[in-house]
């Protein structure tokens, strides 16, 4: 088990909504919880992952997410069971959409 923490600048996600939960903790999958954070211009992420040694890949995947989406003002908790970057990227986009109440 490895714990990783990241913080990226990101355009504000908008009005705070209820927390959103997406995905499941199962092999090759992950669970994402998005809540309101304290800094409207940053996306804070903390990851607990079963796969050690992929910090650089997480940084790249999450950095791309924060740059490509309005995810500022959020706090993202991820429980990962070896999801591939493709799954992580898809799940983050789904979770953020849900957090923002289905807005595109």
């Amino acid at each position: 088990m490895e714990t990783l923490e990241f913080r990226f600048a990101s355009p504000p996600a908008g009005t705070a909504a209820d927390p959103a939960l997406c995905g499941v903790v199962g092999s090759g999958n992950l669970e994402i919880l998005i809540r309101a954070g304290d800094d409207p211009a940053a996306c804070q992420l903390s990851i607990k992952t079963s796969a050690r040694g992929f910090g650089q890949v997480w940084q790249a995947v999450l950095g791309d997410f924060a740059a490509g989406h309005a995810a500022g003002g959020t706090q993202v908790a991820i429980n990962d069971m070896g999801a591939t970057p493709a799954v992580v990227t898809l799940r983050l986009a789904q979770a953020l959409t849900e957090y923002r109440g289905g807005a595109q």
Binding site: G28, A51, F54, V57, A60, V61, G82, T84, P85, A86, V87, T89, L90, A93, Q94, T97, Q104
Partner: protein, 550 residues
Amino acid sequence: MNAPHTRQWDTLRQSRSRRLERAAALGFGREIPAERIIDLLEAVIQPGDRVCLEGNNQKQADFLSESLADCSPERINHLSMVQSVLALPSHVDLFERGLANRLDFSFSGPQGARLAKLVQEQRIEIGAIHTYLELFGRYFMDLTPNVALIAAQAADAEGNLYLGPNTEDTPAIVEATAFKGGIVIAQVNERVEKLPRVDVPADWVDFTVLAPRPNYIEPLFTRDPAQITEVQVLMAMMAIKGIYAEYGVTRLNHGIGFDTAAIELLLPTYATELGLKGKICTHWALNPHPTLIPAIESGFVQSVHSFGSEVGMEAYVAARSDVFFTGADGSMRSNRAFSQTAGLYACDMFIGSTLQMDLAGNSSTATLGRITGFGGAPNMGSDPHGRRHASPAWLKAGREAGGPNAIRGRKLVVQTVETFREHMAPVFVEELDAWKLQKTMGADLPPIMIYGDDVSHIVTEEGIANLLLCRTPEEREQAIRGVAGFTPVGMARDKRAVENLRDRGIVRRPEDLGIDPRQASRDLLAARSVKDLVRWSGGLYAPPSRFRNW
């Protein structure tokens, strides 16, 4: 002028007669009792023979294989084996027990690790790894079998054979052996008075043996829709919208796997919504994939010719004779040689997956410590220079590659891969394991499944790379890096070059295709479980028990 040397011109026939006489001297007629099969094999097989053992990734002459492996290595040795697939433990036993020492084959799936070990111990000499059609071709050139051990469904009293839906490789093997002085021995599942149809005439077959149990058939082409992921749905959406629709692909082959199963299951839903019914995927060279049932039932599919059959699909195929090739008796007839020919010359597209791909687009499923071969993929995943007939898809691809005045078209050869496999193994690599394998095997060439210059498109979760439009090796490399995601190869991309390729439509993202990845949902699959497939088939599909969970 010198007098001509006296030479015998019928040594093969004489050798055949002597073998048959030895069998007759042991009291054998044409029907061999199972408990005496080893006596027969030891009588008709000679040291140094070339023996073809029938077995593909589906039907296996397993009883004959096990019996041959139980023969005495003092009597039978130095055999040179020619076979499509090295799949059963007994196939490898032949080499470990000293009966055979040379192998020409196509695919070794589950025995790949044992095979690699034998090569390293120099107990086996690999002639070459072929694609199926290539190996069949050599049966008629320099690898003609002295003895063929085949599998059939049934024999009648005269020795005519019925092969059933899994006709597969048998016609090619028997033709090469029976007409070049060879001996053909068939294991059969049953003896019947009257066959449903004659697939092999009795005078091409020397001996039949009723096997103690029916020949093994692997349900290799069944993919449970429950295991298809959202990422695979996303890639399937991209492939359908960005390739199938744009080229108007009507004639095609799908590789085995969940990526292509996802495409099959999106035809009745997503592709229909896009108005593509009747415009794509009408004619197939394909085994009867259960995941194609919804597309067939939706009226998407006009015709399917198959390499082999698939366990559980017999009744469904028989009830859909407008779509599948069936005999006058009603049951399916497959034929690997003809379906591979269709896959090579009559298909506009091949789409499949791989384990590794390098920056030139070369791909391989060979990984360190395993020698596997590639079956039919190198054949279908190649652009045949012998093709002369045109089709819209072939012309469009040819003009993308060669400009508006191109004098030939191009086959679409598509590789669809998620950038990482399980356990975070990157698919995109600087160097294929195939190069290291070449060294450990002492092979002439690295085991590459599909050559990069045959590949037209790569589909990943990040987008589609169109290699036809690349004009330099550098562009090709950046196009591949540009869809390689967060693999080390992908992260080492030249971002400006990739954006330039994107402006030119060489690299396309889901949003460039009008696809929102968040809409990639399993709800789009026409069937989400094996039970759904059974329902679509009206109860005609009978999945093997391991795929039943109800």
